[in-house]
């Protein structure tokens, strides 16, 4: 499955030689082969292969503990790898950490803003860590505050910002060195819907400006919104790779019919539903019937004399892809 696709990509690049080498080195911002991180017996990342091309928006989708953050930290060179190859902007992050990070903007899962400094000073000081001069940073910080819609909070204390504001400030801070690659670890976790949409809008603008985005998320809607291409990770291995639309086409049907018969009866009616859809998944609270036409399937269910408490027809999402690949839901 996922391995097959990765192989196909590799074969392509081989068959395109001798141009491939030139094109690849210029276009790939990240190249990982057999990337592995083990803590004693526990293997957090288990020999994964992936490429990220310049300007693309690349996602790592998987549940908590899948190895997404570990992979992100290895990319930034703040965590060593146990085995495998990793090249970021053509350099090894483990031996050339400071250089690699000069090209990166990092937005960690949990905001790590400097509580002792004011909002504007957070941006300026962060730029100083890159060795950038104040003459550049003062106008740049004003521009970034505007981008993050925080201009009127420039002199506020970090503690006084809302969750969404802190997140936007963290992203603005990650942009202070005008990075080629922005690493976003769970960018909207813990934000309310409106703050999420504001943030997505900002990230779209960056994407339009040509910044390569690498996003980890366990929200399928976020992956669908933000990612051109993604890998689905579970237990440290890659389960599938492709664009959101490709993955849905490959691993799911066009539509899904969700039925609820009440927690007692769900299990009993499964036998009667067999054959009414291409595939059936039974979850603790509901039954999912996969088919090209959900309404037609619902009619067949009624025709069979079954009357669910609630029914819902929706388009397939990455959540269904994940369920198909792992037998589990993304958000438990």
């Amino acid at each position: 499955m996922g391995g097959g696709q990765a192989n196909a990509t590799r074969q392509e690049s081989v068959s395109c030689a001798p141009y491939a080498a030139v094109v690849t080195s210029e276009e790939l911002v990240i190249r990982a082969r057999g990337l592995t991180k083990a803590y004693g017996d526990f293997v957090a990342v288990d020999g994964i292969d992936f490429d990220v091309r310049r300007g693309e928006s690349f996602g790592l989708l998987g549940p908590n503990g899948a190895g997404k953050s570990t992979t992100m930290r290895m990319i930034g060179g703040t965590l060593g790898r146990t085995a495998g190859e990793l090249s970021v902007v053509g350099l090894d992050p483990e031996t050339q950490g400071p250089q690699v990070r000069a090209h990166l903007g990092v937005v960690p899962q949990q905001d790590n803003l400097d509580d002792d400094l004011k909002v504007r000073e957070n941006l300026i000081m962060y730029g100083r860590y890159f060795g950038l001069p104040r003459s550049y940073l003062v106008p740049k910080s004003a521009e970034l505050l505007e981008f993050a819609q925080l201009t009127d909070k420039a002199s506020a204390r970090v503690d006084d910002l809302s969750g969404g504001m802190k997140r936007r400030l963290t992203i603005a801070r990650g942009l202070v060195n005008e990075p080629e690659v922005l690493l976003l670890d769970e960018p909207t976790t813990g934000l309310d819907p409106q703050a999420r949409h504001t943030l997505w809008d900002r990230l779209f603008r960056l994407k339009e400006a040509g910044v390569t985005l690498i996003v980890t998320t366990h929200f399928m809607d976020e992956a669908e919104q933000l990612c051109d291409r993604l890998i689905v990770i579970d237990k440290g291995t890659i389960m599938a790779e492709g664009s959101p639309a490709q993955l849905i086409r490959q691993y799911s049907t066009r539509e899904v019919l969700e039925l609820r018969f009440g927690s007692q009866r769900n299990a009993q009616v499964v036998a009667q539903l067999e054959g009414l859809a291409e595939r059936i998944e039974v979850l603790p609270d509901r039954i999912l019937l996969y088919s090209a036409d959900g309404e037609a399937t619902l009619e067949r269910v009624s025709g069979a004399g079954l009357h669910p408490v609630t029914s819902l027809v929706r388009r397939s999402s990455l959540e269904d892809v994940f369920l198909r690949l792992t037998g589990r839901t993304l958000v438990d």
Partner: protein, 279 residues
């Protein structure tokens, strides 16, 4: 500054200059110091000032209170000095030790594991060695301020009797550097707070028994040798020599001890850097 270079290029160009330990050091410790200074400006000065009072309070209680019972004692080179003048240099050495150890063990360990500051710094071009050295320098700067203030108190009380006493300030910084470097090396091995408590636990007896409050001659020779192997004794002796201007080869020996201690501590810290910061 040319406008053509993008900030990334600017940073990369600076990093392209040859430097030792390129994977863990970016040569930009200055930014860590700058951040420390910015943070101090907004911080509670009460906490900073309290560090100055500790040795002064000891000096007053022991030197003046207890000193009234003790009278004069034999100082370096056999000259008679007041008890307060005898212990004042020891108080300065001890306070340099305490500050440096606290900053390089508890403070660093907390910031590494619970604070988010180092995490944020290390996701930039800074390397762990920039952060570690910057942190040590900040601790030394604070130690420098305390030493100057303490020396002023000593002078006001008439306890500094030689111009050589001015050298007690750089000596305090050197003592602090030695302890901070070793402290950070030890912290790189620590997994839990409790392990660092052991260091704090070792410091109290070292303070009490390192010839701080009475001469080392009261001990049998085996105990003397043991005490003389410990760093604080060297710090105390170094300070005592400088306070009265009694300079001998031994003075230089004590200073050399701390230079070696600094080098050893920095070496261990550098070697252990990845374990310390990049776990």
């Amino acid at each position: 500054m040319s406008r053509e270079l993008s900030p990334t290029q600017l940073a990369v160009e600076r990093l392209a200059r040859p430097r030792p330990a390129p994977g863990i050091w970016s040569g930009n410790m200055v930014a860590v110091l700058e951040r420390g200074w910015q943070a101090i400006k907004t911080q509670n000065w009460g906490i900073i000032i309290s560090g100055f009072f500790e040795p002064v309070l000891y000096l007053l209680a022991m030197g003046w209170g207890l000193g009234a019972l003790v009278g004069e004692v034999e100082g370096p080179g056999g000259a008679k000095v007041s008890y307060a003048a005898y212990i004042a240099p020891a108080m300065l050495a001890t306070s340099a030790m305490n500050g440096a150890i606290y900053d390089s063990t508890m403070n660093v360990f907390f910031k590494l594991n619970f604070g988010k500051l180092y995490q944020a710094m290390l996701q930039t071009s800074l390397g762990p060695l920039d952060v570690a050295l910057g942190e040590i320098m900040l601790a030394l700067f604070r130690g420098l301020l305390y030493a100057v203030a303490f020396l002023a108190v000593m002078a006001a009380l008439g306890l500094a009797t030689s111009w050589w006493a001015l050298l007690m300030v750089p000596a305090a910084v050197l003592i602090a550097f030695g302890f901070a470097a070793v402290g950070m090396g030890v912290t790189s091995f620590a997994q839990r707070f409790q392990q660092l408590d052991l260091i704090m636990f070792a410091m109290l007896p070292m303070f009490l028994f390192s010839a701080t409050l009475y001469p080392i001659s009261v001990y049998p020779s085996a105990v003397q040798l043991f005490i003389q192997a410990l760093p604080l004794w060297h710090g105390v002796e170094l300070m005592r020599h400088l306070a009265v201007g009694h300079l001998t080869w031994a003075t230089l020996g004590h200073a050399t001890y701390f230079t070696a201690m600094t080098a050893l501590g920095l070496w261990v810290t550098t070697v252990r850097m990845r374990k310390l910061f990049l776990r």
